[in-house]
Structure formats: C-alpha cells, structure tokens
Amino acid sequence: MLSPELWAQSLWETLYMVIVSTAVSYLIGLPLGLLLVVTDKGGIRPMPPLNAVLGVIVNILRSIPFLILAVMITPMTRAIAGKAIGTTAMIVPLTVAAAPYVARMVESSIKEVPFGVIEAAQSMGATPWQIVWKVLVPEAKPSLMVGGAISIVTILGYSAMAGFIGGGGLGTVAVNYGYNRYNFEIMLVAVIIIVIVVQIFQVCGMWLARHLDKRNR
C-alpha cells in the first residue's frame, strides 16, 4: 500500500489540475457560450457567419476523444507549459478539451432564460451588453451552477484519463499501480477517492444552485 503522504499528494495534484482547468475553461467557455447565444439566429445580435464558425470549432474539439486530443496537441502544450508531462502541463489539454464543453453547457443554460424577459429589457432601452451581464447571466445563474458541477465532474474524469500520458494525480496512481502492476487494491482506493471527490463537487454544486435560485423562495 502507498503512504498516506503519497495519497494526499496525488489528491492534491488532481484537485489542482481540475480546479485550475475548470477556472480557465470557464474563462474561455463562458464568453464563448454567451457569444454562441447572442450571435444565434434569434439572438440579441444575430451574426450567422460568426455563429456558424464558432459552432464548427466547438463541435470539432468536442468530437475528439480527450486522450487523443491531449496527444495531438502535445507541441502546443510544450509551447505553453514548457513541458508535456506533469500536472501543470496537463492543464493545457484539459482546458482545450473542456472549454468547448463548458461553452455548450453555458449556451444551454443561457437559452433557458425566457425570451419575454429579454424583450422586457429591450423595451427599457437596454444595450446588448447590458442584457448579457444584467439579464442573461444573473437570470441563468442557478442553471450555470448546475452546469458548473457537471463540467467539473467531466474535467475530473478527463484528469484521471490523463494518468495514461503522465498527467499526475489520482489517475496516474490508478494507471501505474493498478493497470501496469496489477495492484487491484491501490486502483480501488484511487477510484474510491475519485468517486468521493465527484460526490462532493456534485452535491456542493447542486446545493449552491438551489440556494442561489430565488425562484424557490
């Protein structure tokens, strides 16, 4: 069995990878998702060509399996992070894979805001920018939180896969000890820890979403 320190370090690496990648993915995915909604045909600033181009890019990135994508963009990872393996380096492929996913999650949350509310804001002379930041995002906040919980769990899944390509964290433990050395016990513990982390993220996300939603008052 591994030392508790090693387990703690692996867990820390996983959390670090997941949280930073999620944050960066939202930094890219949130504006991208908003842009997808705003420039859509019935959106508040329809721009069909831009919308089509963004849609295609998102779809391409979404259709490549994470492991293959991570290997494919190794040169880019090296250029950005200075190396291709290790926890910090993994943040690059995780973000590239997750940002389009996040964009789609954001898009679907924002589309839940009833058109009437947008129309009301337009009737008051709101600019598209004001509609986005004062209507769409605040009104979709609970749904965005749910999307956030789902996204972070997905990214955690990717990060575990990253174990196969030297990503570090719990995934690497499971791969190195469980898969390569047939140590079923260690693999099981790694999996259990991952499951617990997923549970925590999911429960916290849902609780936050419910708590933030003023419609449930």
């Binding site: 509310v117 009737s123 008051m124 605040p138 003023k214």
Partner: protein, 339 residues
Amino acid sequence: MEQDCIVRIQNLNKTFRGRAGTVTALDGVSLDIYRGEIFGIIGLSGAGKSTLVRCINFLETPTEGTVTVDGQELGSLSKKALLEARRSMGMIFQQFNLLQQRTALQNICFPLEIAGMKKADAEKRARELLEIVSLSDRADNYPSQLSGGQQQRVAIARALASNPKILLCDEATSALDPTTTRSILALLKEINKTLGITIIVITHEMAVIEEICQRVAIIDSSRIAEVGPVEQVFTRPQSAMAKQLIYPDGKRDKLATGKHYCRIVFDGNSSFEPVVSNMVLECKAPVNIMFADTKDIDGRAYGQMILQLPEDERAAKRALAYLETQNVHVEEGDADAFT
C-alpha cells in the same frame, strides 16, 4: 379640433420570412394615437396586434412605413437614440416578464440602473413607485413569492420608472382572473389620469376595451378594420370583425328561425326608459327578447338588445316604426344579420 398626436403610424407593413414562406403580420396599418388617451387595439390571436405594439417601440422593425413617437420618426434614429426613445415608453406584458432572480424593488431599479442612475437614487425612486402600485410591503419579495396581480403591479411600477410618456400594455390582464384584471385596469386608469401617461392597450377581450379605453382600433387579419370612440364602435359596429367581437357568442344557434329581428342599441340617455314595454303596449304586438346586455361604460349606460318581432308583417313594421321614434339606434335584419 386638431388633436395632439403622440404616436402616428403610417402605412405600416411588416412581413416575416419563415420556413413556410413570407407571412404578412401587418398590412398598410395607419393609426393616430392622441396624447393622454387610453387607446385600445383589439383583435383575435394572430391578427397582428402584438406585432403592431412592438412596432411602436421598434422591438420589431417595420418592413415598410413610419412610426412617429412624440415627433421623432423611429426609423430615422441611430441605435443609441432609439434606445433613448424606448426609455420614453414603458411596456408591460401578459407574462409580466420580471427578473426572477431580483426582488420587486431590484426589478423596479433595473431600468434606472441601465439608464445609469446612482443606486441610492434608483432605490428611492423605486420605493416611490412601489407606493403608487400599493406594494410597499413587498419590496424585498422575489417574483415567485408574489401573486400574478402583484407581479403585474411590479411590472407596471418598473415600466413607469423612467417617467415614460407612453405605456404599452400587451395583453397585460390576459393571464389574470377577473377580479385582479379589474384592479389592474383601475390602476392603469388612475395612472392615466394622475400621471397623464398615454396608454395603449392590446387585448383580445372586449371587456377590457369597454372598461378603460376611450378609443379603439379593431384589427382583422393584419389590417385595421375599424377605428373610433369606444361607444361608437360598440353601439354601431361597422366591420364584420367588430360585430364578431361585440355580439355574443353562439347566438346563431338561438336565432335559427323567424324572419324579423332587430337589434336596438341604447345610448346613455334612453337605457333607463322602458322602451320595449312601451313598444309592446303601443303596438299591441308581443316581442321576444333574444338577447340583452347593458353595461356601464365610462359612467354612462350602454347596451344592446336583440328582439324577435311578430311574424305578422304589419305588426313588425309598426313595432319598428315605433322604435325609430324613440331615442335608440335600430338595425333590422333576419337571423343571419346579427352573427
């Protein structure tokens, strides 16, 4: 007398290009709406009335024609000026369209915030408005904690926040029960009277028009069928759509037989006189009252009655001749004429 026109709509056309081809929503609509009046636009669903009201604040851009609001032709304005112009018009909706994640007070602050007012000033103004719509005790409630009527009151307060000259009401009472509808209509009337705001009401319910409007336009399949003062349109409807909206439903069945019918319309003066009884006594001919409905409109009584006259030609003529001498409007016809 030349009326002061706050909204002038000229030759408005609006077509939508859809999957099923081009759909005409408005076809050559021209309307003048006077400053300070409550103007009604009534029609069946799909007639184009919602599109028409959205053309007044350019939420929909007309395909052709002009909309002039308070001297400004909206089509000629820059984007920025158009947003500015929209702030001079408030709008309320059937589904209230409040921001669900904001309290009543914060909802009313919203238009002020986007216009760049300081937060403290906006809140002060919002509280005044809550007072006007009698919801001061609900300032910190979220829309989900308010009834439909209360939500619409918040929406009205929000629409009034930027001191508009015009209030557009798109089926504002259609989602409310009759009692709440009445209280919302009373509030609109009061706002019109005390603040002098011109109100444009879109509805499919004749009762709403009768209750608060001074003038009405009837819209039928994308065109204006009839415009006039409510009493006039109500008592002497000219267009088929006006008749359909004003006459009671299902009357055709009841009037299946018989030749001589007449519709008599009472104006404010004569509805308290026993016109029908007098006619029966005078002409010694029995009549059958097929339908009767009298209402109080704007402080005066109006009403209509549909009578089945005697089968005998001479008796029927006599009855009609008697009615003509009375201070009522009489229309003669057979059963089909009144459907």
